[in-house]
Amino acid sequence: MQALKLTLLFLFSFTLAKTQTKISGVLKTTKGIKVANANISLKNSYDGASTDSTGRFAFTTTASGAVTLIYSALNFERDSVQINLDHGNLILNLVIKEAMNQLQTVSISAGSFIAGDGKKGAILSSLDIATIAGSRADIFAALQTLPGAQTSFSESGLFVRGGAASETKTYFDGMLVKSPFNATVPDQASRGRLSAFLFKGTSFSAGGYSAQYGQALSSALILESTDLPEKTTTGISLLSVGGGVDQNIRFKNSSITIGGYYYNLSPVYSIIKQHFDYVKAPESTGGNIQYKLKTSPTGMFKIYASYGRTKLALYRANIDTPATPNYFSNHNFNIYLNSTYKEYFGNSWKLESGIAYNKDKDSGLMTVNDYSRQDHLLEGKATVTKSFGQLSNFKFGTETFNTGRLESLNGLARAYNDQISSGFAETDLFLTQKIVVRLGLRGEYSSYLKKYNLAPRSSLGFKTSAHAQLSFAYGRFYQNPEDEYLVIKPTDFEHADHYILKYEINTPDRNFRIEGYYKDYNRLTKINNGNPDNSGSGYAKGFELFWRDKKSIRNADYWLSYSFLDTKRDFRDFPMMATPSFAAKHTVSVVYKHFIESLHTQFGGTYSFASGRPYVNPNNPVYLADKTQNFNSLSLNVSYLTHVLKQFSVLYLNINNVPGFKQVYGYQYSANGLNRQALVPAAKRDFLIGIMITIGDDTFVR
């Protein structure tokens, strides 16, 4: 009896204790490097193990027969092998392939500088742009601290790699903005119209940009607007120059933002001595409205409309007859509309479409002459993107602009109108995770010039190590001559060829880049006896360095830019090839930001240096052979974070040119060449003080 019991027990326990198989081994990369923390598992079973620091693993299983062994690890491609558990213990040598890791995947990078929130390849954030000392939240001033851009204070816009300001174009959600600057005072740069806070991404390309962007010879500034605001909030800003209010209203899938501002510089001008004798200090009013609708989980419709009006009047010194200064008045009126729609179809198609309208009107009195100028642009654009493979895509689209100018002097008017129609196609081909090729083609037809152009674009990226990349770009870029020449008569497209070579190392806390370029300009507009033609040409070559470090100094962040530029061109009214007045050979910028937690304050400083710029001296037989003194500027800002009436607030102070460096942009000569006057900033030093209050949110984020 007892024996039977034992036998039975033995039998049962035998069936209970299934055979155990031990699986062990080592996991390595294709290059033989051991992979730690990988997951080894059997399909349809909990059994498995993690690899240790030497890539080894071991576990037992009660499974039997043919099974699938799966192995996976972060940054590697999941793989599997078939094994049979019926022949005892197994020792495996597994090899795993490296996977596409977003951080280590090559990108299209030549020529471009990306600032954006949560964006791959972004070097700066939108907040970085807004808080650069001296820039006073102006995107264009902020970008002048980046390599490739000149410090320009006497003319609005970005002068990039030897190009004139008109060769840099601004795009708002892919749509060209014809008049991105505020009303201009003679020989002074003015701010951009579009607030830095409208955008979540800024891509500043100093060359070699995508075939999606046309009508820009030197540079493309690509601005991407924010999506729905998180909350319903009210923002109030009170500045020494005026104030503004904006109301964000957030609904479940949509939002409305309504904003308005009023600026009047006369109180400030009564304190800070101005170079000009103002009859009426600049006074502006304006407003904007935005509506954003999430049409589906992946679709977005946006509309932005703004209106602005500025008035000013002043006397400028008259070098020829000092007793009678020159009168200048300007009344500017600007409306801008931008509406875009974006949606994904299936899992690989994307449609982007938009319509934009811009009208900018200046009128006033110049000495004794009545002048008026009205620019307009109506644009429609549609782009379709098809993604394929893991990262590659192909896009094509079409775009049409109706653009022109109407100007008059003392009642005599002239105008031109042009319809520029274009089509483009481009592919980003990832040959491997480490090599990407972009090939694009853009064609344009101008109804006014009655001419076609065809522009090839290409860019190449090659990842040399986990954090380093080498890039090359070549492209041809066409642009219509400036409005002031087109209004005289139609000529031909101007064009430039860009060759760019770049090497960069990017880690989360530090960025280093060096970029060299050569640009060949042809068919630039020249004026011969008041008649424009396309006989101009030029070149620009140089290199740039950029270094940013967020880590070495606690709570501090700084970046350094250096640009070397060698350029000559024969255009406009130049009698010969010469370095234009907007090109300094050496440009240096240092931007420093330091947050002191105990003081709730961020301190910022920006130092800019530019070597002397050429100017025309009629007494020197060589054209543009004289140079101004070097340019130096040091600006400081302080932002104190606090609460006013329990609402989150920022108290802000910015002082430009703190040490009062003497800054000369150039010289103006009297007709007889005997007298000259320096072109200088509007004021030696300048300050801005203000408070920004956010109601409806107790954190810094808006």
């Binding site: 049962f12 972060l74 951080l103 998180e230």
Partner: protein, 215 residues
């Protein structure tokens, strides 16, 4: 004979129990418990990754259970805390966010899932606050949803308290503000009873430790 019968019955019971264990129930619970033990004994990032792999293996089999993906995300959250390398932190937390989305797909409107998601979004922000400010809003949104789904979930208050604790005072954070949040977290931990032995029940000790630093 009687003893024999008894033995056989016992054996039969044991066998049936054994075969029953082949189904999801107890085996799943047992595996989850041993995973939680790995977490409890974890000392560094590697230990959390080991636990994460364990939960990943369970998740691969139990395609209807949300807990394995939830705990895998939790392990990645802690692996990220214990890693200095910012790129690795980012990768662990990116993976955790994918896992938490997987959990959400299996158990929609789950307060625990949204609480953990909120914690992850906040940590993603902390890697590079200047460029990721927008994640503060997203994190607050997830935690708010978690609170709407179950205002008694103590982890929401703990996570909020933790976030505020590590946010500079100037940006609306600080110890003073964190204190009241952590106190309410501890009050809620005291009365919180998980539905079963494997449901989320973490955070009470950490909340107490953090509160001690507020004094």
């Amino acid at each position: 004979m009687k003893t024999l019968m008894k033995s056989i019955t016992l054996l039969l019971v044991l066998i049936s129990f054994n075969s029953f264990a082949q189904n999801a129930g107890p085996k799943f619970i047992q595996a989850t418990k041993s995973g939680l033990e790995l977490i409890a004994n974890a000392k560094g990032a590697e230990d959390y990754l080991k636990a994460e792999n364990h939960f990943e293996r369970i998740a691969a089999v139990e395609t209807k259970e949300w807990l394995p993906s939830y705990y895998a995300a939790y392990c990645n959250l802690y692996a990220g805390y214990m890693t200095a390398d910012k790129e690795l932190k980012d990768q662990y937390w990116d993976k955790a966010l994918l896992e938490i989305d997987k959990a959400d797909a299996l158990s929609s409107n789950n307060s625990e899932i949204y609480a953990l998601k909120g914690a992850l979004q906040f940590m993603k922000m902390s890697v590079d606050p200047r460029t990721r400010m927008y994640l503060i809003g997203e994190s607050a949104g997830s935690l708010e949803k978690a609170a709407t789904l179950n205002p008694e979930n103590p982890r929401i208050y703990f996570i909020r308290g933790q976030d505020v604790f590590y946010t500079p005072e100037a940006f609306g954070g600080g110890k003073v503000k964190a204190k009241s949040l952590l106190e309410s977290a501890i009050a809620k931990f005291a009365i919180f009873k998980p539905a079963n032995t494997i449901d989320p029940n973490w955070g009470a000790e950490s909340a107490k430790a953090l509160l001690a630093q507020c004094k």
